[in-house]
Symmetry: D2
Subunit: 399 residues, 4 copies
């Protein structure tokens, strides 16, 4: 919020509305020590900007009275908070996508390494037909790619918001008129453009009651959590004591139990599973808030975004790091996978046998003799190649 105020103040000065010495470095004026107080005050006025502004004006008073006079002029609380939210969201989306790229690379390695590692395919919890671990990891990879693309798209749509009390930029325009601007609404627009550029954000018409930018970002973050949740579910099943085909990376206190020394808990997957149970509710809350917009500022719908974004962003960033750690260090027990698949061959090949039997002619003995789990993998390898190609293309384009 302080950065937003600072860039707007710089814009007022740069566009000739405020004197040039009104521009000031505000970044040191509010510190983490102010947060508990601001948080409490936010409940009084309904948002934290009012108190942040009071502190800024008070602390600027002695060192730069001109800045103290001009700070926030032309803005409304929502401008500051919404643009600050966008800055936070941008950082979150960027961080998550950096992790997703690392995960895509790590998963590509898993897919390539294990494209021929035969394992039991399972449906509805039961052995079904053979597959490969590479094929399974290719599904994970597909999910990561879809999430990364949607996060890219959401990030591209983020924009600053400087609309004033009712989204008309009236105060900024009036300030420009008072300063003698000939086309004051254009000058107000320029201030907004200047501030947006300083913040590294695109300019946009005010979106105070149109929250698609927020919901789109939320949906994309949830899509990442979905992809990780899916991976975590697979790891949790396959690292069960009785299955033991995968193990989580260990080290650094991960997964120990204080009471049961033998245990190595798949704690990364547990935490990813947790986040995947949490995230959808936060996105729903954001959508609901978007739909509850009314008038030129909503009566609760705006404010309901904040805890949802807080929980979602915090959870997603933590999960992004966990997922990178998991996928980079996952231990694949390929021999055990294949041994189990071979031992279960009778069941895993039942579909194949039924097809051969239904072929009408009695199948040649050689057909049945050659029946082996590695001979009933269909187009798994072709599918693996396709997904790897998509991943390579994505990483190349984003490089």
């Amino acid at each position: 919020m302080v950065t937003v105020e600072e860039c707007w103040l710089a814009g007022l000065a740069a566009c000739g509305i405020a004197p040039s010495d009104a521009a000031a470095d505000l970044t040191q004026l509010i510190t983490p020590a102010d947060l508990p107080h601001v948080a409490e005050a936010a409940e009084g006025g309904g948002n934290p900007v009012i108190e942040v502004l009071r502190l800024l004006r008070q602390r600027l008073g002695d060192i730069n009275p001109t800045a103290a006079h001009w700070v926030h002029r032309g803005l409304t609380s929502q401008d500051v908070l919404d643009t600050a939210l966008v800055l936070g969201l941008r950082e979150a989306l960027t961080t998550v996508n950096e992790e997703l790229r690392a995960q895509i690379s790590a998963t590509m390695t898993l897919v390539e390494t294990h494209r021929h590692t035969v394992m039991a395919g399972r449906t509805l919890s039961q052995h079904a037909v053979p597959t490969t671990f590479g094929r399974k990891a290719a599904s994970w990879l597909g999910g990561l790619l879809e999430a990364a693309e949607d996060i890219d798209a959401a990030e591209d749509r983020l924009a600053a918001q400087f609309g004033g009390a009712a989204g008309t930029m009236a105060a900024g325009t009036e300030l420009a008129r008072q300063s003698g601007a000939t086309a004051p609404e254009r000058t107000a627009w320029q201030v907004a453009e200047y501030a947006a550029t300083q913040l590294g954000l695109p300019m946009s018409i005010p979106w105070h009651t149109n929250r698609a930018r927020i919901t789109r970002s939320g949906d994309a973050l949830v899509r990442a959590c979905d992809a990780w949740g899916h991976i975590a579910q697979d790891v949790l099943v396959m690292s069960r004591t009785e299955i033991a085909e995968l193990s989580e990376p260990t080290g650094d206190g991960r997964g120990g139990s204080s009471a049961m020394p033998q245990k190595v808990n798949p704690v990364l997957s547990v935490l990813l599973s947790r986040t995947s149970l949490i995230a959808p509710h936060q996105a729903a809350q954001l959508h609901l808030a978007a739909a509850q917009q009314v008038d030129e500022r909503a009566v609760g719908g705006w404010h309901a975004e904040w805890p949802a974004l807080q929980t979602l962003v915090r959870g997603t960033i933590a999960a992004a790091r966990h997922a990178t750690e998991l996928l980079s260090g996952l231990r694949v027990h390929g021999e055990r996978m294949t041994r189990r698949a071979v031992e279960a061959g009778e069941d895993l090949l039942a579909e194949q046998r039924a097809i051969i039997a239904a072929a009408g002619s009695s199948p040649p003995a050689s057909d049945l003799a050659s029946a082996a789990v590695e001979n009933y993998l269909g187009a798994a390898d072709l599918i693996v190649s396709t997904v790897l190609g998509q991943a390579e293309r994505y990483l190349r384009e984003k490089a």
Copy 2:
């Protein structure tokens, strides 16, 4: 589901796996009269495909035994249901976007007609500063545009799914091998491509456990519901008896009350508001289902998509029609808007007066004299032009 089976069967025949007379028109074989029975049977096996298939085989038995033999071969239930879901989703997305385009046109007319209709801007339920009804409707328009773009994007990503039991296309490949294909996995792929083309869908690698297509479509539909919810909230406020600045279109039994003959209820907005309260929960359910994927077919996560899609699609299509009716027939009482704003001028201009006072020099008397609600509209007109430009561009590109 029947169409999916039919196109796959045609693919088996076209690619030389099944004899050419296996291709058959299945569309008349299952009728709405079968639905209650299929619905009940679906609870036995966990999905409706099993019973649909049984009926198809039974009814084909007499008229085309070859087709009865080959129908569904190479597929798994999930292939049929997922591809059928995609067909349904595509129709829903198309229908909603047609309505959205009509709404965009209607709202453009509202914006243009009322770009100079001054009204009281309201924040947190209280009079704030002046705005125009055109500026307000431009916010509605922005929300409709964002929804339409996301629905376009979601529709573009829909694809057929033909992966077999574990997403390896093993059964299709085995059938191709039995038919003597030299590269059986390529033949299986061709069958899938053929069927997808017949269905008008892009081919894709199997996405049986990667549900981003579903959640993306769901999110986009909710984004439309959010946009309508926002509009409805505004209409509900502005058509209140005491405000009466907007009225819903009447006619055709809309909004009457059996007991209170004087009433004209804003029933379209009530219904849109309803849908906006329902839709976010459905999208959350879809995300949750996506995150609960495990193994090569989920134990509940797959099945949990169906009621959410049913409620969401049904609600969104109804709401789309209501929103078109509302925006096309909305009655704007511009004189009342402006009269109220003028009467409330003292309050609505308080911000402007404070700015003038803070300008330091005592403001010229003419400044205060000219203070009138129509002189404190900031960049409203510029903003209106910008949004209209975006809308024109969108409609032109989609034409």
Copy 3:
């Protein structure tokens, strides 16, 4: 809805407002064949009562014009729909609780039969310490008991609603006044009491904007779904091919696969898991609708209850039956449970060994020698007895 109209009409006649021949049997006047038409018309007026009433009046016209004149008089649409919802909810709660009682009995049998069946306790997916299957099933039983108690409590609070347009019973009172009643508001109250009694429901002051009855019922149904979801998760893990300590009941087409003849899918647990993913969203929607009450009838909050109740009630009743089938027919492979626990003894007893080691004195050799999974069950048996006692008490009190 027809039953509600009928009982109110009887009340008008019984209390002297309408002539005695106004009372009429309405039950045959609306049939399932009317439903599609009523459903469509409901979107026009915002609720289905208006059309139901039109049909009732029309069809009564010839056979009982007095009834046609008096039907619905004194009521508003919301009275009819809310009271009808309560009738539906009562039936749902009763049905679910009957199933819950059957489940409690079946689970008591499981607990008693297997109170000494040792198995591996698992935490965070890994072997932890020994437990018994009886102890595990006692946790299931506890969940069923809590759900049953909350459903009982929710059912006890259901009541009829007859408030008229704004919850003041004004129309009923006016009708009574017209009929010459000396204390017309008391007469209106008596009509409501009469109708409620006919419907088997308690009388209540109008609760048109106080939806706690609805949310409480919803929450209780979700609590049952939670309990079943928990059981299903356990069955899904324990019936995995590699674990195979439990099997679902078979028979009657349950769990077969059209393509893979070897498979027996745990389809009941899959369906229960599905419902547990769906139900929480429906309850959230009901709460949201409750919080969106405003004025004397909400603008969407009322209407948003209907699809949530429909999905929740339908899903819960189906799940209730599935859960009874599952718990009554669950096949417990006790020998395999115990064999696995014994084989895993080294790990499962690590905690015990650590405690003995930490006891300070070197433990007597006999202590370690006697270390066996059946000697490290703590108070499992005591806990089992406690839960069985609770269950017996519950069943006795409800008998």
Copy 4:
């Protein structure tokens, strides 16, 4: 968590498992300054107990090595965290219910004061029939009563949890056996009872995988948020600039706007509305977590409770205070209510006139002449008396 460890340690000493000097005051050993570190470490092991325990042992090491040896022995992380959650929930439920009682009193005063204050009843946002503000506030009161009763019931069901790794109390039993107890599982039970008593909580069998206590508390808190949301919606409508029949209490910086000096925003209602949009999602998350229980400790379902409880409890306590402030200081502009109702009499009495007209005989002129809004209030007064009686009874019973 520290209090739980302390009471359990006291129990070990009191029951003769640990030496009597093992009991220790732990409350000063962990301070708020430790929280950031503990929070970070919690992500490593999956929960915060592990690090809290490490700090406790380290800091006890010098001052009471016996306590350092015995602390946490017999417990698992989940015991500590769940019982700590219950302590937090109990405090939250108690706090909320104290506020609810204050709100019930304040609302009773509103109801009594305004039982004859006539106002326009509104349905679907339009004037409908007359009502009184007392009647409306009686609906608010009904919602507060239902919430208070459910919170009481939820609080009564809270209990301690001491089950050890798998809910069998095996570690506690083994410790008792090592200490020479003759019925070691009974001794373990006594330790748990002792600790529970110290904490002021009922004893219970372990409920590690049965989360009904958590969901029931969550549902009850949401029910309170629903009731406040409903009140807030009414206040937001009725304090609109154009309606102005209610005003929020002012003072202490509530509701000011930095830019628009004329504004008094209904900020308490805005904040209550916000919380009512947030709360349902949190309860849904708790239910989902409950349904995702599996094995003897869930893989994410347990952990997903924490952020939901944090958001829900924090939001509910803040909202409870806001609601008390709102209801205690609400300014009712009764004259304006009644003036508006009288002016709108033509519309508000349309239903009454229709009833009179339908009475068949032409109504006596006196009937129409006496038609006035205060003569069409039905049983409003009777309803008011009924609700006031319920509230008096509730407050008396809880006194």
